[in-house]
Symmetry: C6
Subunit: 267 residues, 6 copies
């Protein structure tokens, strides 16, 4: 790894419990430098997985939290004013392309469809990034790989990725871990009792079942860790669940009552 | 507390009357530096509470009144022109992340959904703020915490927070205090008679009951303090209520007449 | 009053005929520096009233005609380029906050809802203006007061003020003066015959009654003064009313005919 | 008239044939410096009238063709970069306010509603123009007058002027001149035969009658002058009418046939 | 012709076959410097005609391909930064107005309605161009003429020209040439056999007849020239028609089949 | 080829298997420098074809991935700030026009309709590019050719190209290769077994048949190469197809099940 992207190195191995053979599948995709799409619900571990893989493969990880304000210039670079006039500054995507590393576009459906079109020449056999404003055609470093994540649960058609963009990727599907694995993850992350975490996971699974009954999304693994941490610190289980598993999920009085009934059945 | 954020220190203890054990719950969340969401109606004391907690915990408080104009640059920072060219200036969020402190996004639903996506890497275990434009990955100061407030009563779907953002927070729900506590707060803030304040609180509760009959929102605790202050200064109770509890709530002639009837029944 | 806002001093007492005890109510609100909302129809005297009060209280008056282009920077200030780089320039709101004075946001519903959110920290007990771009938290001068006006007759929901903004104000309701007072105001302003002005006021009241029959708004006191001035200068009453009371109110042939019939019945 | 606006002086008397006592009415409004609104259809002589009046009164005339791109800065002025930093440059409205003259906003409904709000403080008794960006309150020169024109025939509600803006003006209604006057104007402007012009005016009046049958607008006086000039130069009357009175009015084959039938009945 | 616009001189006579007396009509309009509107379908020769006329009249031709991004500044000019600060640069319309020449706005309906309003003062008897940003009123050079083209076949109401703009022009209507003339044009432009071109013209006429059956537009004269050139270069007639007369017209399988049937009936 | 565009030279012959006589047809169009439109579905080889042709013809290839942010300036050039003020920098289209080469607008329907209007003067007999901002009329280099690609399968009317733009091009239609040719391409690109590739192609053809049953687009040739590469590297065929042929195509559970059934029938 060159010195240029040292700040983006993952220096400590992140904790990650595999749920299948996703590690091997990702390694096969990386070996060919195929662009990878991580699909899955909020807080199920997509970001942790890519950090884990970047550390395992020993490559820097440049993360971009996508948003609708993000312009091509934010990805690719821009001219800035210097003592001697305008000088080109590489954007984070360009840095990853130039010096090698994984460029991770988090929540890519938040970006505007047309912004993501600029990655097309990077995701076919050419592996080039045209810097139109600078008049440079950058050929990707051999270690460069493009990874994007998104949550297919939001069914907003206006924000769907274009088929011509999606088809440039191979996709790995993520989901919440199985109950015992999820309880182990929560117990490990919150350094708390496994038995308690099993009860929390059971609550989460019931909230996820409410998704087809009007709840935007069920409780995430991350929210379970929050609840377990609060309980570990002496907050009562009921109050911890109110804070971490009920009010972050909904403002609707009926839905709050339903979630509260689930919690009360467990504590 | 370092010198950098001294201007944001709360030097005098704000008056705050707890309505439950919200102080302990907040302290538990702060101990883990969990991001906190304060939910509750207009003028019920959310902002006062966070000032109270910042003073109690001895950390600076950086408040951002969210609006739809607010860009990522307003939060994170921007390049400004100097004698020697463009120089980076940290935004308020970056300052809180760099030097430690509570960053409080007030009325966060006013911000554009995609702008708030930039806080994602700050609200999971990474606790990093990618400064894309500057090419820096800022690791959060141990004292940094993110807090956001919003009013769930506005049912505008286009402005709802995304589940993937909400789930990164633990939430505390606020409401107007119970009648006796609210009267005590109003009497203390306006330095006036408790008996009078009980009558004002009773008017407020009736206006809040009108919310399901077409009133946008009932009278806030803050509006009650305004009314009490005007009465204390010699304005008649009827005129004070007209100014503070009727006309700020509605322009609709029927609703004004209904509110006026409530006031006349009390004075 | 400091030298900084001398240009905003009202040096001559404006003519203002009170219609109730609005002067005393305003003085009570000013004594507590409560934010004030002036509600009322076009041209009924809201702006004249606030000029009158600023003169009476001896404080400078900074007026901002709100529009949808108005950004936070227009209110708060911006960096401008100087010989030595970018230099901060206070906006008019910041000037009023810093040096003390009444900041009057005229036709505030024209401003974008989210722009007005920046006044929230100024309108609660904190009385601070966060200058995010500059990294300064400005504490309001003891003489600073915020006043806004709007016309509740426009029923455009998209432009209504948010309850969480409105409730931060005490409100004074204005309307056209009673007939005899209005005739006196018109006669005084146009230096003309009171009897003539009574007839003009009678025409205005009939046009205001047409408001619920499709007319956007009835004739304002200001329009009556225009008509009286033209008559005083020798234009015939019929032509003066055509110019000042008919064509400015409507382009619709039926409505013009109705208004013309009203005028012909009086002259 | 000062030297500053010499470029805006109308040095030669424009040809203008009065259709009523509009000259006297305008002079009365100007004497009081009342803001004036000129209402009337396309090409009926509004612009010519205001040029005529500016010459008659001996004041400069600053014309602004309104459009939706027009920002407050285009009217009021802006900071420009100079050798020594940013320097303020007055916009055309500010120049008229500062040095005295008629500022004429042509086709004002093209401007955005909120842009026109900035003229409010200029159009009541204050007669001030707040230059917010510069921090100056400009008091209008005694010779300053504001005039706006628009075509009430376009019934687009989204572009209607706000009542609170309209009521700040006195209005003069224009229409096409009576047939004999219009023929005289066309003959004078095109230096051609009056008898021919009578026939052209008759065609125009029939096209104006088609307006309620789907034609956007009937032929204007200006279009008649074009047709008369072409005929005077040897183009056949039929071809001249095709070019000036038919194809500029419509692309619809049925409407073109109807207009052509009218022309053929006259030549 | 002055030196300033030499780059815009048409040095060689373009090939143009008149279809009627459009040359004489245009010359009459130019003699009076009347603004001219060229109406007609895609690729029928409007642009070629105006080049032909500019060469014939010996005046420079400044062409502007209109688009919705085109701002007033793109037409009129802007301030650019120079060693000594901001310096004004004339836009192409301003150059034509200042030094004399035909300014040709191609596909004017692509421009935003309000942008075209700035040409109003140029298209009445004043013939001035107000450079608001520069504070200059430019009087048009005696050789200046404004010409615009558009295709009335696109029935998008949102893009129709405003009547008040259209009526400032005299209009010439263009259409595809008669069959024998069109075959002669195609044969001349492609240096190929007239008999072949007759067959191509016949195909084009049939495709134009499909316009009322769902085809956006029939084959243009330009497309016929393409087809003739490909055949002349040895591509088979069927393949040439596929490339030039079928696939550029439609993506719809049924329409492609219909067009293919027409071609197969001819070759 | 001049030195200016050396970076855009295709130095190695790309692998391309012709599916018809598209090479000869393209050469005929290039001989006349006719603008060419490549129509066809995602990942069927359009980009590879144009690289192949640029190499074969020995001309540089400047690729522009179109997006809705792309402005005229991104294509044509802009003024940048230098030590001595603003200096013009050619955009990529201008470079191709000035020095000669193929300018390839990839996914042109992503660009805004009005942006593409600027290519009109380049695509008729004039072959000029007006650089309005610079005041230059650039005559195209003899080697310049314009090529655009798009996918007609997206039926979004708002993004269709305008007939007046399309008709300026000759069009070549692309589709997925015939089964045996496609299998050969996949086997060659992935250096793997032809028999395996036949099975993958068969899966792809069945997924393409699902397009009329709700699938956005069937599997592309590129996706087949991905799957073949993963299998070649030891990933199981089922997992490889999940990653490359199922999850990139759809998030819909029913569609995923249908695609999975197709895969299971083959492996």
């Amino acid at each position: 790894m060159g010195a240029e992207l040292q700040a983006y190195e993952i220096t400590h191995a992140p904790y990650y419990l595999p749920v299948g053979n996703e590690i091997q599948l990702y390694e096969a995709a990386y070996a060919r430098r195929l662009p990878v799409l991580l699909k899955g619900p909020t807080g199920c571990g997509k970001t942790r997985f890519i950090e884990f893989m970047a550390h395992r493969l020993g490559v820097p990880l440049i993360t971009l939290a996508c948003n609708e304000d993000m312009t091509t210039s934010d990805l690719v670079g821009r001219f800035l004013l210097d003592e001697s006039g305008t000088v080109w500054h590489d954007g984070p995507l360009t840095e990853a392309v130039r010096y090698g590393g994984i460029c991770y576009l988090d929540e890519v459906v938040e970006a505007r469809q047309d912004t993501t079109v600029i990655i097309h020449p990077l995701t076919d056999s050419r592996r080039i990034l045209p810097l139109d404003k600078k008049g440079e055609q950058l050929i990707a470093h051999p270690d460069f790989q493009l990874v994007m994540s998104y949550n297919p649960g939001y069914q907003s058609h206006s924000k769907d990725m274009k088929p011509s963009t999606r088809q440039r990727f191979v996709a790995l599907e993520f989901n919440y871990p199985r109950a015992d694995a999820e309880a182990l993850i929560v117990a490990t992350e919150a350094s708390t009792d496994l038995q308690l975490c099993r009860r929390l996971v059971d609550i989460a699974e019931r909230s996820r079942a409410l998704k087809s009954h009007g709840l935007g999304e069920g409780a995430s693994t991350r929210a379970l860790i929050y609840a377990a941490q609060l309980i570990e610190d002496g907050v009562t289980p009921l109050e911890s669940c109110e804070m971490a598993l009920i009010h972050p999920l909904s403002d609707d009085p009926d839905m709050i009552a339903a979630l509260r009934a689930v919690v009360h059945a467990h504590f």
